[in-house]
Symmetry: C2
Subunit: 360 residues, 2 copies
Amino acid sequence: MKNFLKAAATAAVVFSVLFTSFAHAADKSYTLRLAETWGPNFPIFGDATKNMAEMAEKMSNGRLKIRIDSANRHKAPFGVFDMVKAGQYDMGHSASYYWKGKVPNTLYFTSMPFGMNAQEQWAWFYHGGGMELMQEVYEPHNMLSFPGGNTGNQMGGWFRKEIKTLEDLDGLKMRIPGFAGEVFAEVGVNPTNIPPGELYTALERNTIDAVEWVGPALDLRLGFQQIADYYYTGWHEPATELQFLINKDVWEDLPADLQEVLRVSMRTASYDMLTQSVHANAQAWASIRDEYPNVKVKTFPDDIFKAMVAANEKVLEAYSRDNEQGQRIIKSQQAYLDKTRAYIDISERAYLNTMAELEE
Amino acid sequence: MKNFLKAAATAAVVFSVLFTSFAHAADKSYTLRLAETWGPNFPIFGDATKNMAEMAEKMSNGRLKIRIDSANRHKAPFGVFDMVKAGQYDMGHSASYYWKGKVPNTLYFTSMPFGMNAQEQWAWFYHGGGMELMQEVYEPHNMLSFPGGNTGNQMGGWFRKEIKTLEDLDGLKMRIPGFAGEVFAEVGVNPTNIPPGELYTALERNTIDAVEWVGPALDLRLGFQQIADYYYTGWHEPATELQFLINKDVWEDLPADLQEVLRVSMRTASYDMLTQSVHANAQAWASIRDEYPNVKVKTFPDDIFKAMVAANEKVLEAYSRDNEQGQRIIKSQQAYLDKTRAYIDISERAYLNTMAELEE
């Protein structure tokens, strides 16, 4: 009896050790803190972050939780890069081109004027060497970057007057930030940046003559269709891809299964965002067409586009001068675009044009 | 001492029970058997199945394994529906329109002539009621169906002679199966079905005059570019979406975390397949352009398309007559297409046309 009890006691210890170590391996939970550039409940962009976090938590049965802080909490919408790099946050949701003032070659991983569309860009990221180039840019900053959601082709903006010639652009005051603003400046536009909350009033009071935002779904909420009649088709951001950032130490600390859970959740959220964008833009555009017959869709004339293509090349050349890595990224993107566009032209574009002609 | 030992023994039992039930919950593994319609290592289509299985296994840390049987094993490429329904296989990878002879309303969940493109169709599935309609069709057969990978816009086929008028289609012998074949038959084409392995010889020996397959990547392997000069743009399958099937009992037996692992793996594999298709088609089309200068891309003239639109409406009307559910699905798709296409026209199509004009 004594031996039996002794054995039982030993067993208890063994079980206890086994249980603890097993529970440790299969049950260790991770809570990652994510800072997003957007305010709370920002439509579509913010949905991508939530979608990613929900997939990761459900698929891991709660072992991987992502706590999202919107800009109202961390107060640093354009500090996401620095905060994730320094480990103040484990992850970020933002857009790569926001960091071009800090790390010039981050510019190339969001969308480029006259560049790839969303499908072409994903093909470049996942099959054309794009992911490898992006990691090459981010690794020295102790971070990994992943595609974080695509808006699809962005609209060229709302104009109060029709743009018929290059002269019409001369001195035009337009809200268009970033690289596209620099290109527009080359053809005479006076680009300005104004906080979103003040855009409607600025346009209404002629403080600005035109405003570029995103596309019907997000534009509709700001009300530009009430005060601008001309809605121009896009050229400057054909496939804006947001970005998930993760601190490299945090990434490497995750077990392989949770790395895969996170990798797949991010990739799916990126794809899902374009699906949601197409839906939301289609609904919003139907509302604008129904309720604002004043709105006319226009495309810039060819000579304006030709001037902008030249301006884009000039700005890009100056931007990447003496920058071997930047030139390599541009070359990779242009070679990839040449091939994919030749195919997209005979498939997707030909089909859409056939259908449009049948409608006429 | 005796009390201590008694307590220890009790603890051992408690630990043992705890350990067993914990291990049971967190460690129970599932191996699902999947039958795919394709032969082993079939490019792109077969890669989608493997991609899905790999994601599921890695994300679940091996708790969810999917064993793939290709057609050479199960010998029933078009028996996938029946085998999954009966539980002989847990899952399938195939295409919904293959089952139209068995369950007519399965036709609508792959791609329809003059229908939605891939992005529009995903928006319809996930935001426009498409998934709900698909489950309504599949649930009586004790299965769930999920999007399983998109080919993108399929090409209209290889023709040995240029098609200039409707008369040129009269009596033309063409390999074009399924619903599109029925539409083509209405405008005088003589559709035939020939096994893939015999297509090249049939075209070379004029047993057939034309052949529709998929797109550059898969077409190139069959060699049609060597013997046909005219490659027509598409109209009949603008967004062919493959299908994952799962037996409903098997699905319901999975714990919630593994259901989500499977759901996300399938959705991601579906998106990933279009990304891979764009890449592979772009590479293949570049090869065809370089090595076969004889190949000319053509689009059918408008009067042929108008006749095919009318034929499509006629065949569809006959097909869905006295079928409330079918009519409801058609209506949902058409209403959704009207809205999304109006948006795609001012965004994606406008951009692609702008770029094409600048190239000229």
